[in-house]
Structure formats: C-alpha cells, structure tokens
Amino acid sequence: MKKKLMALLLAVSMVASLPTAALASTESTETEMAEKTAEKHVELLKIGTTRAADAFNIMTEEGSYGKMNYNSFCAAPYIQRGQDGVLEPFIMTDWEIADDQTSLVATFATDQGITWHDGEPFTIDDVIFSLEYMINVKQSSYITGMTTVEKIDDKTVKINFDGPKAFGVLNSMAKFTYIYPKHIWEGIEDYKAYTGEDAMIGCGPYKVTDIDQDAQVVTYEKVADTYLGREIMVDKVQVRSYDSHDSLVMALKNGEIDAMYDYSNSLDSSMQPSITGVEGLDAGMSTNTGNFQLVFGFNVAPTNDLEFRKAVSKALDYELLAATIGGADGEIAGTGIVSSAVQGFNPDLPKNAQDVEAAKAILDEAGYADTNGDGLREMPDGSEMDVLVTPQYNSTRSALYARIAEILIQNLADVGVKASLDEESVRNSDYCTEFRKSGQYELYIGYTSPGVATFDSAFMYMTPNPANPWGTCNITEFNEKYDALVSSGSQEEYNAILQELQVMAADNVIGIGLCWDKAYFPYRTDKIGGWINFTGFGAINAETWYSLYTK
C-alpha cells in the first residue's frame, strides 16, 4: 500500500512539473515552424467530445459542430483568442478603435481567395450582412451596444456603438461570433428553426464532408492547403461524440481518439489519477482561469453582516476544499477570489486560511451566541439561525456541488453555526435560477467559467450588472468599480481595475474563492506531436490545425 502511495506522490509531482514543460514546448514550436513543411501532415485527427452530433447550424452554438467552431474551424470568427487569451486577428485582419471608443474601423480578408464551402466567394457584403443580422435579427448578446455598420470599401467597414464600448464588444465577440453567408441566410428570420443542409456552410479552414448520425461522428476536411497564408497541417478531422467524460476517457486511453475537446468543461479533477502516468497520454493540464466560489447574499441576515462573512471565511477547511474540488493539483484560493491564471490577477493578496478559533471569536464578538444552550449559535436578536447553503445547478457536476455544500455545512457546524443544504437546487435548474433571481440566497456556491473569468471575472456574479442583474452586493463603491471594469478601454486599464476589485472583495469578504483548480484536456502523444495546450481551453484550439504533425 505504501508503494501505491509513493507512486501516487510521484505522479503528482510529475504533473506539477508539467506546466513549465508545456510552456517550453510552445516556445520550441515557434522555432519548429520552419522545419514543419518537411514534417508529415496529420492525415486524420480524431477528437472526442460530449456534445451530440445533432445540430449543424452556423448561427447557433449547439451540438459538436457548434462548439467546434470556437476553434476557428468551420465557421470563420471575426477575431480569435490566442494561448493566453489575447485577441488575435482572423477574418477581421486589422482594426483601429476610435479614441472615444464609440466606433472602430475594421479590415477584412476579402482578397485572400476565401470562399464559402459551397463555392460562393466571400465578400464585404457578407461581413455587413452578418453584423447587421446579429444586431437586428439575432439581437446577439455578444455585440450589445453595436448599432450600425458602414461600408468604406471592399475590404473595410466602420462599426458604430451607442457608447464607449468598442474594446468591450471586441473582447466579447472574439471566437464566439462568425461571418454568415449572405446568400444563404438573407430573408431567414427564424434562424434557429432553419434546418436546411446549407445551414452549416461557413468559410473557415474546414468543411463538413460527412455526418454519421449512427456513429455520432462528424468528418471535416480542410478546404485548401493553406488558409490566411498558413499551411494547414491536419488534413482530415473526425469529431466523435460521447455520452460522458467516463466513456470519453476510456476511449482516449484505448486509443480510439487522439484528443479531448469540450468547451469550458474540462475533466473533473477526480479523474486525474486515471489520466496521469499513462503511456502515450498527456493529461493536458493547465491552470484553470475559472474557479469555484462562494457568493454571499447581501439581502438577508446573517450573510449581510461583514463580521459573519469574516467568520465564515475563517471557518472553512480550505485544504479539504482544494483536495475535493481540485484533487491532487488543487490549490488553495487567494482572498481576492480571482484565479492566478487570469490577466489582472493581484499577487499581493494572501491565500485563504482556516482558523476555527478566530472564527468562533469573531462570532462571539458580533453577538452570535448560543443563548438557548443547544450547542448552536443564535442570531444576535436571539432568533434561531439556520443558514441555507445553495449549490448552483449543474447537470454534470451536481455531485461535486453537493460535496462542496457538505463540507461547508460541516465546517460551519464546527464553529457552532447551523447550516442546511438546499437540496432542490442541486437537482432542479429552474428552481436554482428562480432562487438566484429572487436574491434571497444566503450562501450560494457557484462557478466562474473560463470564458467569464477572462472578461467579466467572478465578480460578475456578486454585483448587480446588466449581465447579472441579480447580484446582491450593496457596497456602492465596489459596484461602481465593477461597472468601470466592464467599460474599460484597454487591457491595461482592465487589469488595474480588476486588481483593485480583488482588494475590495477581500476586505469586505464579498465572496470566497473555494479552490484554484486545474483544467484537464488530455491528448495522445504517441503518434501526433506539436500540441499547444491553451490555458483553460485545452489542446484543441484555433492553433491545432496548423501546429500538429505526425511523429
């Protein structure tokens, strides 16, 4: 048994040294670029995902097809995100934001021989059509604030906004918004109900060549040898849909697929032991920009009391939380909540730490005493205290949420605070949503997805704001600072404000980061090389098509 433990520790330490190795390999791929032409193409790349192969519509983000498009795949995005979340040009090759942030001038790759997959040429009219379609028909939340589009010439358009939102909208557009073919979609109002076969026509580097519903496999082939001037290294891609991460991992271990792709849905850390130390398999670990957090309800007692919140922050067993949420690689979160992998992370804030005695002292001081002698504390006014712990609904991770709640309840009981599980929330998404909207929650366990973490941050769930009007935080200063964050005009400004927000969140214990975990998107390394593991997104990304090679 000791041997097993040693092996486990060894595996853990090996995994811990991986990120540096991954970084090193990225740098070396840059230098390999030149040699690559000599290298062999990847004839067939087999990707496993959990989204079903049942929707093929460029307008929606449904199904395996829809999610694959986040990788600049079949549909061509305006702009994409690079390894560390930085904006990169794609079909929108260049842009210039006006000083007042109310408009921008953008150039498009209409002169590079790009065609739609049905052979029609891609023109500036498609660009204008797509943007206007998003504004008027889709009313897409990605471009809220965009008002009009003016054609300047056959390559350039001017985009106007109803306020200083150019940078913000660009950020939220990146990788999720695409160019639509005007000749197909013109005149179609109900785009979601349109199921014509041409609904999947895009102008990205790959096109759908076969859909096998029985096998749940979609086959894509590259449209040309190069795209936007870069050589496409992967000739053919097959995306196979699995029902669960379990079957996906088994398939990966048995060599049925080469890599895993599941947008914003990395393998649960509890699966880490079965993907580490496997020959020919890389666990694909990276720092998760997202994180689990505890949000306090400011509308109800006792969570509206700073002293109570401080006591909670001292009462929790962060080591166990880190192990339960993040497994062997889980890291105790900082008091600023925001993950260390996020741009704008504040490194000056300390880590969370458990101190049961301090928690008890704070509660005693603040008047939460056990007046009736039942071993549990009452509210300062003497009424009974029973804090409701509401885990967010999540169809695939309900077990983890329930476990986090279980730990919180036990930890609070250890400092004399009675807490109960809101079991319905674990099971019922409607209830969970309604309850969150009511703003009556006390302790709400939620998750900031990597996408939100990149440009909205975990604080989106705490303050009232257009994206989440049900935030309950009533500290005006903090809320105003958050508004400033969302409308910041550049990455530097954004980073500076986010750092300040973290300090304010720590001082007022607006929420608690429960763990900084890792993301795992494993891939096989025995036959294919050149993987670039994007932080929090995995090895299947916008770069994959150009960087892979056969070993």
Binding site: A52, D54, A55, E62, G63, Q139, S141, T144, K192, A193, T195, D210, D212, Q213, D214, A215, Q216, V217, T219, Q238, R240, Y242, D243, S244, S247, M250, A251, K253, N254, E256, S395, N428, S429, D430, Y431, T433, E434, K437, P466, A467, P469
Partner: protein, 357 residues
C-alpha cells in the same frame, strides 16, 4: 342491500351464460375482444391527456426551455417582449383548455412539433432512435425467451434435479444485481480492460454496407448479452414456477387416469398449459420494449429511446419527452390488447372452466 342485488344479478348472468354457452361462444369472444379494444382506445386517450398535463405542470417557464436559460435571462432584462412573442408562437399564452385541444388535434395529425433543443421535428428523431432500440431489444427478448423458457421448462419439469439446483440460485443471484451495475462491471471488464468489445455506441463510423452491419453487430454484442442475461433469468423463473405448478396437478390427474407410463404426453400437456402465462409475459416485455432497455442503453451509450428520454429530461426537451411517452404508451396498449386477445383465443383453462359449468 346493494351488495345482495349485485350478487343476484351476477348469478343470473352466470347461469344464462352457462346454458347458452356453446352457441354464443364465438359471439362472446368477439364481444370480449371488442371490449378490450375499447378499453385500449380509452387508455390511449388518458395517456395523451396525462402526457399533456404532466408536461404543462412541470415547474418553470417553458419559454426558458425553448430558448435556453442564458438567452432567457438576458432577454428577460433586456427585451421581455421577445419572450412574449415566443410564448405566443408556441401557443403558450392561450388558456390551458385551448392548448389541450390544439395538442389533441396535432397529435391526431401526427404533428408532434419540433424539439426545443435541436429545433428539428420530434417525430423524425423518435423514429430514428426507436429503430436502434428495437434492433437491440427484439433479438434479446426472443433469445431470452428461447433460452430462459426452455431452461425454465426443463428445470420446472425435473424440479429438484441437477439443472434446477444449479441454475436457479445462479440466475436468482444474477437478477438481484442492479442492471446498471452489472452493465458497468461488464463494460469495465470486457470492453475497457480486455478490449474484447467496443466501449459503447452503435458503430465506429466511416463504414457502409456489410462492413457496417458487422460493426453494428459487434457493438451490439455486449449490451445484448447483459440484457439477455437479465431477461433469461426472469423468463426462466416464470417458466419454471408455472411448469412446476401445472406438472404437480396434471401429473396427479393423468397418473390417476392413464398410468404414469406416458411421459411424453405429460410433458406435451404441461408445456401447452404453461405457454399461456409465458406468452402474456412476452407480450408485456414487447409492450415495454421502447423503455425497457433504458439503463443498458445509457451505460453503453446506445443511441436509442432510453438515452433519448434521459437526455430529454436533462435538457427539458418537453415535446420530445411527450412524444416518447406517447409511443411507449401506444406500444404497451397494443401489446396488452394482443395479450388479452391471445388469452381469450388460446387459454385452455378459460375454456375448460366454462365447459365445466
């Protein structure tokens, strides 16, 4: 008081039937079948109504499920008018009674609407998935009936002998393991560790013709084996206990009448009598065919009706659920009817009792 009148009424009816039995036997049979048919139709109407109510009274706003939660929340704050438009489009703003009538009309016309999630016609998906469930379930039911039935008949006939003492406990232990657990253990051992079978799914993809057919069979083997194991066990138990019961009685009567020598006739007689409850059970199994393999389908990622229902529950795809439930209901009703008819037509005991009167 009422009770007494009822009894007398029955007695009259009974004697009436008895005296005219032979002449009106066929008429009565037809009448009974017709009555069962009426019951079936009425049940179907009830099922359709329950389906409607079940879905309508689910918690939460159906519009949220139609357009997706994120979109719903966004529109609720930014543009609530769109939500009302969607509500009107799906007829959700009308009173419940008129919604019900619309639903009935559409059901009669076989218009089940579009899936909330994929927006494709529900009927298409359900029929597509049904095919795969039938492919998995029909052979497994027939195979189990053959294996379980014949083993059960033998074990029951030679009750207490070797086959019975060995097989009965083994099959009983087997049927006490939860289906999903056994399925998972089989998957872990035979597909993941030993790699004898694929990990799940229906086919590997990229194949056609005979190669694809063989590939599907290969994918079917493990889930089908699990199903055959379970179904054979219950078929065995049923057949065994019926044969045991009949044999004890028949054996005595026949032995008294003819002497024990003619074993063949006894066996023949016993089996003939035991077939009736067995066929009823088979009809039940066929009735439940669409939802019966749910757990196995889920474990082996078999894209049939079971997984469809499960996914639809998770994504709250109500039109899909409704249609699945409707088809399952129809299937059960049809086979129940069939079982009733078969019983009326072939049950020797039913006839015997009447004649004895």
């Amino acid at each position: 008081m009422t009770f007494v009148t009822v009894t007398t009424g029955r007695e009259i009816e009974g004697s009436f039937c008895g005296s005219f039995f032979e002449r009106i036997q066929s008429v009565m049979k037809r009448g009974m079948i017709f009555q069962h048919l009426l019951t079936g139709i009425f049940t179907l109407i009830c099922i359709i109504t329950i389906n409607f109510l079940l879905i309508r009274f689910m918690p939460g706003d159906p519009v949220m499920h139609i357009i997706g939660e994120d979109e719903y929340l966004r529109l609720e704050t930014l543009n609530p008018k769109v939500l009302e438009e969607v509500r009107a489009e799906y007829g959700l703003d009308k009173p419940i009674l008129s919604q019900y009538i619309t639903y009935l009309k559409k059901t009669v016309q076989f218009d089940f609407g579009n899936s909330y999630r994929t927006k494709t016609p529900v009927l298409e998906t359900v029929l597509f998935r049904m095919r795969w469930t039938l492919l998995l379930a029909v052979p497994s039911i027939l195979l189990s009936a053959l294996i379980g039935g014949s083993l059960g008949a033998t074990a029951g006939y030679y009750s207490g002998k070797k086959l019975d003492t060995v097989l009965s406990p083994v099959l009983m232990v087997l049927s006490s393991i939860p289906t999903n657990c056994l399925a998972i253990l089989c998957l872990l051992i035979f597909a993941f560790r030993l790699k004898w079978f694929p990990l799940g799914g229906i086919t590997s993809g990229g194949l056609s013709g005979i190669a694809k057919g063989l590939d599907i069979v290969w994918h079917m083997l493990l889930p089908m084996t699990v199903m055959v194991l379970f179904r054979s066990a219950s078929d065995y138990m049923l057949m065994k206990s019926t044969v045991e019961g009949i044999r004890k009685e028949e054996y005595i009567t026949v032995a008294q009448g003819k002497g024990i020598s003619d074993r063949k006739i006894v066996f023949h007689h016993v089996i003939k009598n035991a077939l009736c409850p067995f066929i009823t059970s088979l009809c039940m199994q066929f009735g439940n065919i669409l939802a019966g393999s749910m757990m196995v389908e889920i474990v082996f990622s078999w894209k049939g009706m079971g997984t469809l229902i499960y996914d639809s529950v998770n994504t709250k795809d109500f039109p899909m659920l409704q249609t699945c439930f409707l088809f399952i209901g129809i299937c059960i009703i049809v086979f129940n009817f069939l079982a009733d008819v078969l019983n009326i037509v072939i049950d020797p005991r039913l006839r015997k009792e009447k004649i004895n009167e």
